[in-house]
Every structure is written in C-alpha cells, then in structure tokens.
Symmetry: D2
Subunit: 323 residues, 4 copies
C-alpha cells in the first residue's frame, strides 16, 4: 500500500509536508517526446490556489516549480520527471499552540495515532498543500490526453452558498466532471473498472465525501427501462461520428467498467470547511477537551479550488489505462 503513489503505468509519487522544505513529486512512465506546456501547468496551479476566487485561503504561494529531471529543452526524455515547489510563505508559528492538540474534524488525531509522530505545522503531509503535486502530475497527464484528443472539464455546483450560523459557512458542494473524446474500450472488466478507478482517484482528494457515476443516486429510483441507455437507431447510414452511440447517458459512458465512447460523466461531493475560526474544539492525547484559538489561514469554501484537483485525478486515472 503506497499512500504516496498513484497509478500503475503512469505513476505519480508525491512528497512533502505543508511546512517542510518543499512539496513535489516524481512522474514515472511519461513517454518521451512530449513538449511540455509550462504555462498550462502554471495556470492549473493558479486555479488550485483559487486566484481570483473570493473566500479562498489567504496563503498565497507563488508555486514556482523547479523541474529536476526528465525534461531536456522542454521535451520529456522518457525518464522520471521530478519536480519540487518550495514552501515559501510558511508561518509555522501560527501552529505552535496546536502542538499537543487535535482539532475536531481534522486528521490530527488519526495521524498521531498512526505514526506516533507528526509534523503539526499546518497539517503536515495531510494538508491540502499536498495537492500541488497532484495538479502538476495531473496537468502533464492532461497534456498527454490532449494529444489523443481527450479533454476534461468540470462544473462547480454550490446550491448552499449562504452564510451559516456562528459565522460558519454552509458552503460544501459538488464538482461535476466530464471527459470528452475518450474512445470505447478503456477500462478493465473486474476490479479495475474505469468507474472504480475514477472513484478511487477522486475519493482520495481531501474533503471528498461522495462519488456518483453517470446519473448516480438518481439511477437508484429509475426503472430498468428508464436507466438502460438505448442505442441511437440506424447509426451507420448517417456516419459513425455524426451522432452519439446512445440516446441517453445515464451510465456516464461506461458499461461493465469499460468506456463506450460517450462522454464520461461523474460527480464528486465535498463536505464544508471544518476549521472553525477563531475558536475550534480540540482534544489532547490525555483526553482533555478544550476550545482553542486558531490562527492559520483557511478557506471559506474549497470546492471551487477542488475542481482542478478532480480533473487532475481523473486525468491520472485515465492516462494510466492508455500508457
């Protein structure tokens, strides 16, 4: 079980604590010959930072990527691509008061139990800062997919965007993601169904609480006749590419774990930001519970920032089948 590696053929290994020297990653399995679009990578990182989105975290890293290997003159060599992003805007002192305390709703307690030791500064490895490496790796995957005519986009759905009581925001939501241009025949039929890999990939994103394939939960109340996507009749005479394979797409473009050539559609739900400011309930290993004043910097809502991570994880899951 390698918590820090995703993928079997296009493999991303990530490293780095939130307040350590850097976060980064190594991509193994990227083919030689890809001309890397560095500006695209930067733009995707800006989406992750939430540049221009209100209510996002006050921590603004420049996210300067130092590429270490695997690329010469802007072109991939087929060797491992390693990259690091220095942690520059670190205010570790904000977290000193939390050294012996575990915040309610956070991973502080579970991490301490598992490892016995933890980097308490800003969530350590459990921090969402780790997703910087996911976005970089996922963007390289997206560029490989684009070469094959496959693109990924997403829509953020926030039906509850109003202030909650106690200054807490009722502000979770969904990211609805669509993969266009994926040909039929991608995915494995038993354990590594394409839908299972997408669920695996996206449910590993911090704060994800649900995954729905195609019509998802809505499908549970349909009849079989309603749910089964009927073939578009007489498809051949009009040409194979002029109309879709099926009339509806309740299955989200996957049958038996394998893509059918329709758009692949799925949705990921996220719980609201759990950090309570300024006072958060905390517990120490002795079992004492207390309200503690929290400094740090935190989002009001992270769902808009999660969109690019959902896309990145989808790209990583899909490219893994195509390498």
């Amino acid at each position: 079980m390698f918590g820090n590696t995703f993928g079997e053929h296009f493999r991303l290994t990530t490293f780095g604590e939130s307040h350590g020297q850097s976060v980064g990653g190594v991509i193994d399995g990227c083919p030689a010959g890809l001309k890397v679009d560095f500006e695209h990578v930067s733009k995707e990182l800006a989406r992750r930072r939430g540049d221009g989105i209100p209510h996002t975290t006050a921590r603004k890293e420049p996210d300067l990527i130092e590429w270490q290997s695997g690329i010469m003159d802007g072109v991939t060599l087929g060797t491992p691509i390693a990259f690091i992003v220095g942690n520059r805007d670190v205010r570790s002192d904000d977290y000193e008061s939390l050294k012996d305390w575990q915040r309610a709703g956070h991973a502080d307690y579970t991490w301490q139990v598992k490892y016995g030791v933890r980097d308490h500064r800003g969530g350590g490895r459990a921090s969402a800062r780790e997703t910087v490496a996911r976005v970089i790796g996922g963007t390289i995957a997206k560029q490989l997919l684009l070469q094959k005519g496959i693109s990924i986009s997403s829509e953020v759905i926030l039906p509850h965007n109003r202030e909650g009581e106690n200054g807490s925001t009722r502000f979770g939501g969904h990211v609805k993601c669509t993969v266009y241009g994926l040909h039929a025949g991608v995915g494995d039929p038993v354990f590594n169904k394409l839908n299972a890999r997408l669920a695996y990939a996206t449910m590993s994103i911090p704060s994800a609480v649900s995954f729905e394939m195609g019509s998802g939960n809505d499908a549970t109340s349909m009849t079989g006749a309603e749910y089964a996507d009927r073939w578009t009749p007489d498809i051949q005479p009009r040409g194979a590419n002029t109309q879709p394979l099926t009339i509806t797409n309740h299955s989200g473009g996957i049958q038996g774990g394998i893509s059918n050539g329709m758009p692949v559609e799925f949705s990921v739900g996220f719980h609201p930001v759990v950090t309570q400011i300024p006072l958060t309930q905390c517990r120490n290993l002795a079992g004492e519970v207390r309200m503690i004043e929290l400094k740090g910097r935190h989002d009001h809502c992270h769902v808009p920032r999660a969109a690019v991570i959902v896309e990145a994880m989808a790209a990583l899951a899909i490219i893994d089948f195509l390498i």
Copy 2:
C-alpha cells in the same frame, strides 16, 4: 493494471467465465494458522445466490467449492489458497441468439470493442457470476478480521420497490455498510485513504453507481460546525472504552483517510436491473438496431444479493491494511 487482482498485501485474483469450466480465485497473503470456517463460506455464498429472497435469478448453482491448495486439515498454511467453483447449471444455448448482438445497457458492446473476441454466453467474464470468487475471498478476509474483533454488517435500502411500467421494476437501491471494531490508525494519508480504497473496492461491483462516505451527499449542505464531529467531552475520567470518541459520526469514522476508532460507515447505490424481458433492444457491430427476444434468467432486483458482495469488498479493502 490488473483487472483481475484486488489488494496489495492480501491479494485476491479471480478467474472464470460465466459459462466456462469454473469460476475461482487465488488468495495470496493469507497468514498461516487460520482455522477456516467452511460453513460460514457456504452461508455467505447462499446470501449471494439470494436463497430465500423473492425476485432473484432462477439460475441456482450449488456453488460447491473445491479447495485446491493453501489449507491442510482445515488450517491455512500461509501459501496461496486456490479454489474453484464448477459451472454446473449452464444453459449456453439461451445465448446463441445474442452471439452477434449487443444488448442496450450491458457490457456486450464495450467488451467486444476492447477484446475483439468475447464469450457471449451469459456475459462471459463480465457476468455477475464472477462475484462468487469475491464472496469466497471476502469471507476469508472477514474471518481474519473477526480474529481481530472487527465485524462488518449491512442494511439494504429499497425505497422504490414497486413495479414500473412495461413490466420493468423500479427496484434499484442502496446498501448501507458498517464496520465495527476497527481501531484508530488504519488507512494511508494521501492516495490510499481508507475511504478511497473502500470506494475503489465497492465501485467495482457490477451495477454500483454511487459511493457515499459517512453522511455523504447530506454533508454537502451542512455548515462546517454541523459537519465537524465534536469530541465527546471528558472522555478519560469515565474510561476510554465506555463512550465513543465523537458525539456525531458524519465523517463515517475516517479523518484524513485514516480510521479514528468510530464505526466506519458508508453507502453504495445500485442501478436497477437493465435486462428487459422478453424483448431487449440490441445493436450489432454493423450499427443495426433491433428488438431481440431474450431467454436467459435474470433477477428482478439484485440489491439484496449485492449486500454480501459489498461486505466482501469492504473486508478485502480493510484486511489489506492490516496484513
């Protein structure tokens, strides 16, 4: 990508086509010294067959397991445990009319595209018959978990159990699954979060369309204050085991991908049975679409039978962290 293997440390590899010689599996990684409860395995297989449940498939396999290796005098040896279950009640002729046709809503099309060749008899490898091996492997996993005080149970939720139009049943639903007794500290913090592995494991079950962790989609409309599971106050004085760690369990017992010692709760949604009897819309590779009379035998509702498979996959996902 090994579609036919699940797990990294306790590894189940399954094989067998629906209408071939047998279905079966190999478990690699089971420790030596487990006294196998064979009657328990048989009972779990009976749950999968839907014995005693109305509206389930007319195909009744005796499911006689022939254990090949890894067990001597009823005790595991630490070597691979191989088992086969012969396919006895096979009526392949029922499927001859489907040889060149792909049913709407089924994996026939995607399978044909992927492999170029397929065993058209009863769904071949994509058939739900493959889950026999999951249940056997999962039951061995359950027995190992029970030794550690961990048990898994589930509840079937069918709010829509009424006949639909055209003889089609509105009969999908959910399996709500709970793991009791899992200690804190299980799961990995980044890609192999316990919730991500549970999603991966259960979304690979035929007909699964959604996965929700803890409060799942309900969590997306809560405030952070509502969602964050608050510590039960003053836990120490009354003894560590007399009351739960948190007051609520919206997170489903997992934070940052790692168990916190509370019950692990998740839910899996299933779409309705897609096979339309007696006429089903079919398409051939030439693009012709036609209604074809289908024989075969099929469930009205498979969700009750899916419960034991959800439990089996959860057991496989969890034991993998504990070996």
Copy 3:
C-alpha cells in the same frame, strides 16, 4: 512481496503444495486471440519430468492439465487463464517419518521458522513440483514470443558427471540459455534492466546458485578493449539484416540493461542434488541431530530437467517487457 506471482504485465501466480489437491496457476495479462498449442505445453512438461533422461526422479505424474478459464475453442479470451494439474501419484506416507525433522541442505528448517506450520509431505510448497506451473505459464509466454519471431533454447553443461563417494553424485552443472530474435530496445535502464530481470527470474529456480550474463565471470579478467563488443563495420551498405551488429557478444546482447538486437546469452549454475539416500542428517526444533532413513523418490541429477524451467522463466521475464 508476492512470492507466488512473477511479472508485472504478463503475470503468473502459482499455487499448490507438492502433496495437496493440485498444483496450478493463473496467468493474467495474456492478450486475446492466441491459438494455444496444447501439444507444445505437454511436450514441455515432459521435458520437465525428464521423460527419457536417465537418473531422474521415479515420481511420474501424468501431468494432465485441466484448463479452467480464459480459453474458448482453443483461443485465449484476454481474461485470466487458470489451470490445475492434479497430484495423482502421491505417496505421503513416505514422509511421515520426517514430520518433526528438518533435513540438512533442504528448506525444511527455514520454512518451519517462517510459517510455524508446514506441509511436510514432499517439501510442500517448496518442492520442485511447483515448477509445473512455471513451465505451463512459461510455455504460453514462449508461444506469444514465437508470434513475434523470438525463440529460446538452451544447452545443458555437465562437466562433472561422475559418481562421487558415498553413492553421492558429483552432478551439478550449468544451463546455458540463448534468446534469438529479440529486437533492440527491450529492457529498462535502471532497476529493471533486462539482465537484472533474467537474474531475478532464474535465480528463483530451486537449486540455482549462479547467474552469468554474456561472458560472465570470464569478463572480469578481460581488458576493456577485449570486453567492449566492437561494431561490425560498414553495416548499412550490405543490408541491415545480413550481418550482426557487433563482432563479439561478450555483453550477451544487452547494454545498459536494454537489448541491442544480438542474441541474448546467459548461463545459470545449479548445485547438486542434496538429498542423501538412504540416510540423511536431520535436526528437529529441539536442536537434536540424527541420521534418518529417507524414503521418497529423488533425482540423481536435476540439471537436464532444469533446462526447460530456465527457458520458461526467461520467457516470462521477456514477455513482461513486450505486453
């Protein structure tokens, strides 16, 4: 670490104790569409049994393969190929006297320490009978390689074939193996060098004690000028395929872990049969040492039988790079 699986893309998992129900295996990753040559498989098993070779074991299994899955009408489906070979000629009683004793030079002691329990009958899983599954899996691999114009052959070298003192034979030796037709570019440059994978594959064969690549140990006493395989001059004008790439082949057809298109040559050394008949020195867990009369049936020399296993493991190692 899965002691029972070899390969990453063409993956053979083996199971079965020497005196259990069967030995067998599952091949995952074999492409659809291979027309299996069953007679070839039987012939390779006959080579493993040593049919027609003097001094080989008196245990003569018919080695009837029961194919379970993955093949329909003699053609592979792309699904896992499972097979079992029943253990018919089992004389477990021969081993009752050994239940609590560990033979010198055998795996009895190490197995007991590792697992706490063992199937003492005929070596259990550590028995050379396990290699039946390697040969079957390796022969399927060979058939895939043959489709690509790649063939594997070997030569047995027994310079010491004379009777030793005490009825013990001085009869170890080498298997020199050559792979013809492998194109340039196969192998990975760092840890998964083709030579490293061949060493891994063949050093896992029972009794193997040495692996030499190309000129092997002889290379350690050459000058660099002698060892470096010089390019055949002016290769183009005469046509690319009419003469070899290099004049000599000290490297055995591999540079930097990657094949260069020359024949791949390596050698595997085997120690002599360690079983001493009729009396063998044994030890029990209490530390007592005693001479015990051994029944069972054993080879005088196993090197000729090992040749087909060396070829099988080479085939498995190479096909893994080509799938």
Copy 4:
C-alpha cells in the same frame, strides 16, 4: 515495469540525468522515528566517489544532499523522504562530439533505439551517476537494519590488477558481500526467494556481469554430500547463540529462498571499464563506424567504488522483507 523504482514495501524511486539539474530519489515506506545519521550517509557517498582510491574518475562532485521532506529535526516522519543532489561539476561540452554517435560497449545505441531521444551528455540516465541515489536510499536502509542488529560488509577482489595492452586496464573483479545478523525466516519460497531478490538488486548495478550465491559456481562441481551444509550437532545444550547452525555455509545462509540465520554470502562480478581513451570506436544511426576522440572523465577501475553500491542494493533488498 518501473525501471526507476526498487522494492515493494521499502520503495526507492530514483530520478535524474547525469548532466541535468540533479539526481535524487524518494523513499516511500521508511518507518517513522528513525534518527538519521547524516554523517554516515556522507561517508557512504565518499566511498561511492572513490575518495582516496587511485585510478578513479576525475569528476569530483561535492554530493551535497538537499533533503526535501519526510524528516523533521533529524527524525523520520513516516512520510516519503525526498532528496536531491545537484549536478555541479558538469562539463557537458565534453560530450558534444558524441551527440550523433554511439560508443562501442556503451548503452548509447540501445537507449537511442528504445526512447528515440536521449540526453547524450555523460550517459544521461544510464550514467553511473544515477547510483548516487541508490547509495543514499541504501544507507537509510542500512541504518534501519542496524537497529535490528543486521550489518552488511564487503570485500573487493581484483586478481587481475595489471595494465593491459593499448593502455587498457585488465581490472574487472568481484565484490564479495556478507550480511551478518539476519535472523532465520526472511525471504519468500517461490519467486521472491531472498537469493533471487539479491540477484535482481545487484545485477541492476552498472557493469555487473555475474551473481553467485554462497559457494556459487564452485558448488556445481561438488557432490551432494559435500554441498549440503550439515547441522552442527548438539546445538541446544550449549545454548542457541554460541555456535552456528551449520558446519559449512555453501548455501550462503539461504535454503528454499529463506534465510537460515547463518551469514548471507554472495558475490557479484563486474566487467572492466569499457570506455577507451583517447579513441573509442563509435557508430551512428546511419550505420557508419568511426574512431572518435573522447574527452569526458572516466575510471580506470570501478570495482572498488561498486562495493558500496552492492551493499546498498543488498540493504534495499533485505529491508524490503522486514518492513
């Protein structure tokens, strides 16, 4: 196949081209709580550089390690340990003349065929500079082994250390490696035998041409009675730890792939340095062959420097069984 990762549980991924930004690696699977001995790491790197050894390469990197993650206050966190070593003393211009030419005996040709593109400067990824990361990863593994009382040492055997003709040195040799303190029961019985993993690990070292376990090739000419390591009699009365388990150690401490508690002994052979100075025979993709003047800097003999790499790979292979 991940050429750039070694290990299943303690996993080292390496990256970096010889003349790129840096070489480095990520260790995943190192337990939390190890107090890293940084000076030990530096000393091992000095052994790899050949500090103080005559006839070694003129390229002297300071090998300053920049630790990126996984260590806080000198103690491992259980998270991935990433490190980079900048390439400072790079004279890429030396290699410009080689851009279109492949040197005889080198990986230039095979690399070009495999990837279509290569970093021609100093061997790129195929350069021995890659072993910097192996030594760092292996030294961390050694420190974990030392905590368990396991140590690794080696001896360099150079029987041919004399100048050859044409200024070429007859200077290959062997590294004989011994692992002390490894308890019985380590290794897997079938494919992942401890000896097979050691062969795999060490045959991936640049220039390795042979692997011998225990008595190795000498064993092929012994009788079974000579080879089988006899039990030391009456071991218990004198205490378990006062005398070795067996009288001889021809098997090198491993039976059936599993350690028996005796010292683990094996030997790795290396071919001589192939780079011919000042003129080396080269070939281009058009098939033209020519003598080219080579600048660069190269060892006369690399075997003494290989010793620490053999030890590092042995440490990586062994720790993988103990995590």
